[in-house]
Amino acid sequence: NAGVTQTPKFRILKIGQSMTLQCAQDMNHNYMYWYRQDPGMGLKLIYYSVGAGITDKGEVPNGYNVSRSTTEDFPLRLELAAPSQTSVYFCASSYSAGGYQNEKLFFGSGTQLSVL
């Protein structure tokens, strides 16, 4: 059981370039999330999805876009990369948001992104 898979693990972008961070889960989870973690900081929610075709903004959505065409996949798109987007990005999934026993998030191993 692979869980949550993120690709790539590392990426260096130039200012203004675009890229897509891939995320896939094989646990049939309805809920999926993108977080970023800056040095010395907690994880901040970028976007989330409660099911295929439904997405919503989190705490720090500016500069990013997402789509959820299938239950399994939740890609994160950076259109015009900026140095402020240098961070570690984590994708996560959960079964539902209906009670704390189900709230446990399963995380991917992260993508280290540098924008120079």
């Binding site: 977080y35 907690g42 709230e103 995380f107």
Partner: protein
């Protein structure tokens, strides 16, 4: 506006002793609280949780205490082992909120052999 604060960025303890990691929160809507553990180059993994209807939850060497009136929770690890060296995140949430968890900034625990 930090809703969740972990005021100790780092903590060092001797192997076999107790580790106590603290977390304070301000949002009264939080009704469940999770702790995640993170090793370098890995994603966070779930460690232990507690509901607001309880004041203590124990799982092996790990115990979480919740003081709702003080809006404070703590994670106790007894006895501490070198493999426990990791970053620990406090992550409260509100039931039914699809936005999930609010993470603290983390505490780096180092257990010295």
């Amino acid at each position: 506006d930090q809703q969740v604060k972990q005021n100790s960025p780092s903590l060092s303890v001797q192997e076999g002793r107790i580790s106590i990691l603290n977390c304070d929160y301000t949002n009264s809507m939080f009704d469940y609280f999770l702790w995640y553990k993170k090793y370098p180059a890995e994603g966070p993994t779930f460690l232990i949780s507690i509901s607001s209807i309880k004041d203590k939850n124990e799982d092996g060497r790990f115990t979480v205490f919740l003081n709702k009136s003080a809006k404070h929770l703590s994670l106790h690890i007894v006895p501490s082992q070198p493999g426990d060296s990791a970053v620990y995140f406090c992550a409260p949430g509100s039931s039914g909120s699809a936005r999930q968890l609010t993470f603290g900034s983390g505490t780096q625990l180092t257990v010295l052999p």
